[in-house]
Point group: C2
Chain length 357, copies 2
């Protein structure tokens, strides 16, 4: 008992100051200190000043755990992204965090490596940590993930796609429309003989939408994209490199290769080079995302620009609004950009020489 009391005594002097310490110093009740912190307008000026002084004097900061316990609000949001290695996700997160910081929220981040099970696990952790809102990427998630978040009764939105699924608000771009535009541009250049490299193994909904856009544009011209013209793969530079070889070997008449991401296109560029093909003279190659690298490559990459920062910033605002009772628009379609650079040109006239070596 005596020991306990002493321990408490030590704590009071050495430990972090508590609300009570501020109250004592300012000669008011703890309730008043709390009010100064949370609803300053309902406290008389005089007391407000006394309390403020005491807070500064003790350099008091409220304990967030206690605060969260009472208010049922952690002032923390959670996000799960497939990876940070792609600059559009890195940029989006950066903007999300910056904006949240301005709104006085912190950001809990998790990476799932394009693995839906892992995403569920991370979402579970986030909900257990009591986040006030959740941001995911894309529209394909495990059923349990949706359920879990719904049970939490927490604002939730999906990013990088504009199409809402399962009534979850979405902020992003119309992927199908973007690849449709890209394909129309290539058709206008005169291309009729296409190959596609698509990371269908992962992030399935965005890739699927991108494939749909390509096919729609081709069909309008009476062209059909045969299965042999589509390489399905995972998401890596290496897969792009392999993909272009596969396509050109199987279909030497191909003049244009559409990749569903820039990462794949970077690989395709390298693969074309390895085959002795000049881009864009011998082969046109396009990407999607406009990663930082795209403009710096030789040739620079024709691609679709995604407004990643804008997505992140908007996501932050929408979550904060939702908590304040303002509903999140079910679908927010942001403008994308068709960025024409050096990797696209009119189709070559002559057939391809058989690959050297």
């Amino acid at each position: 008992m005596a020991v306990h009391a002493q321990a408490k005594g030590v704590k009071a002097t050495a430990g972090k100051p508590r609300l009570e310490d501020v109250a004592r110093m300012a000669n008011v009740s703890p309730a008043t200190v709390s009010r100064v912190l949370n609803h300053p307008d309902i406290v008389r000026q005089e007391l407000r000043d006394k309390v403020s002084k005491a807070i500064v004097a003790l350099s008091y900061t409220p304990d967030n755990a206690a605060r969260a316990l009472m208010s049922r609000r952690s002032r923390t949001m959670g996000v799960v992204v497939p990876t940070l290695g792609t600059s559009i996700f890195a940029e989006g997160i950066e903007a999300l965090q910056s904006r949240l910081s301005e709104l006085e929220y912190t950001l809990l981040i998790a990476v799932c490596q394009y693995d839906a099970e892992r995403e569920l696990q991370e979402v579970r952790t986030l909900t257990e940590r009591g986040v006030d809102g959740i941001v995911l990427v894309g529209g394909s998630h495990l059923h349990e993930t949706y359920e879990l978040i719904r049970r939490m009764q927490v604002p939730f939105l999906t990013t990088y796609v504009s199409e809402s699924l399962n009534a979850v608000p979405a902020i992003g771009i119309d992927n199908a429309s973007a690849t449709y535009d890209m394909t129309r541009y290539l058709l206008q250049l005169g291309h009729r003989d296409f190959g596609v490299i698509a990371n269908t193994q992962s992030s399935s909904d965005r890739t699927r939408a991108r494939l749909i856009g390509i096919k729609r544009a081709l069909e309008e011209e009476g062209l059909v994209l045969e299965d042999t013209r589509v390489v399905n793969c995972t998401h890596s530079v290496e897969q792009g490199r392999r993909g272009v070889k596969e396509l050109v070997t199987a279909n030497p008449s191909i003049t244009s290769v559409i990749c569903t991401t820039d990462t794949l296109a970077v690989g395709a560029l390298a693969g074309a080079r390895a085959l002795g093909l000049r881009v864009p003279q011998d082969l046109t190659i396009t990407g999607f995302d406009d990663i930082e690298l795209a403009a710096q490559l030789e040739p620079s990459l024709t691609t679709i620009g995604t407004p990643a920062r804008e997505i992140g910033r908007l996501a932050a605002d929408c979550l904060a609004n939702a908590i304040a009772g303002i509903p999140i628009p079910i679908s927010t379609a942001l403008p994308y950009q068709l960025i024409i650079r050096g990797s696209t040109a009119k189709p070559r006239r002559k057939p391809l020489r058989p690959p050297p070596r």
Copy 2:
């Protein structure tokens, strides 16, 4: 009063189950449920099973705010990075988060854009959120930042540099030694006439160390790096582009340009191209970091590889260990790699033509 009671009744059925609900269902005291959760070994098997079943039946998850309030542990770590736009930081964060997740910690992330004031502000937020540990990048931080963290009495470490400052444990590489090796390699190729592009405006300690390494190697050969040979700039591709023009214009005899980061080197490569200079035939250019882009450029970039993933993973382990009472080594120097690619060659024989256009 009646209303209040009713509200409570509703809550008990509709809201999240609490520890007490589990206890009631399992016919034990709340204390026992808590023990099953935290110290299962001191609970009799039979009760343990009953409690476990009740937990599953109610799909109970403990409230972290309450838990944190009692245990003084949030099971959350915090990290502040200069940016996520550089792949080495993105990779490091990814590895840090993955490992923390395995250790059942969550990660609060903040970005400071190379701004020390902003870093302090974000650290302040992290400490107020009650993180159990903090990771920063590099060794140059505001005095207040160190003080703040010290007061928090929370494990703290610095990453990407191996040199410990202010007694803060460091995990990273020896930057000076890395650029020393790089410079020696260039000297061995025959270069004697150097220029340097350095982002001295930001992340000062790492850049400073890198400059020191360069100068040490040169001095050993009796060479001096004059001030006109060093372009001081901020961190962007554009600055690298500008830097190389400045250097070559002022000193046409330069044969080799050392950049303190890959981002600058990417700009330098583009700048050289714009000047009509071939790399590496006319000009040798080197970077630092081995960002993803480095291998894909044309020419590919000679650079220093930093073990970012390893740094992140180790940081997670060290923080967790520190909480368990195992002290963090004051300095952990990880191996870097000199990666020789296509942007470096022997110096040209002839003087540079005056820049075309």
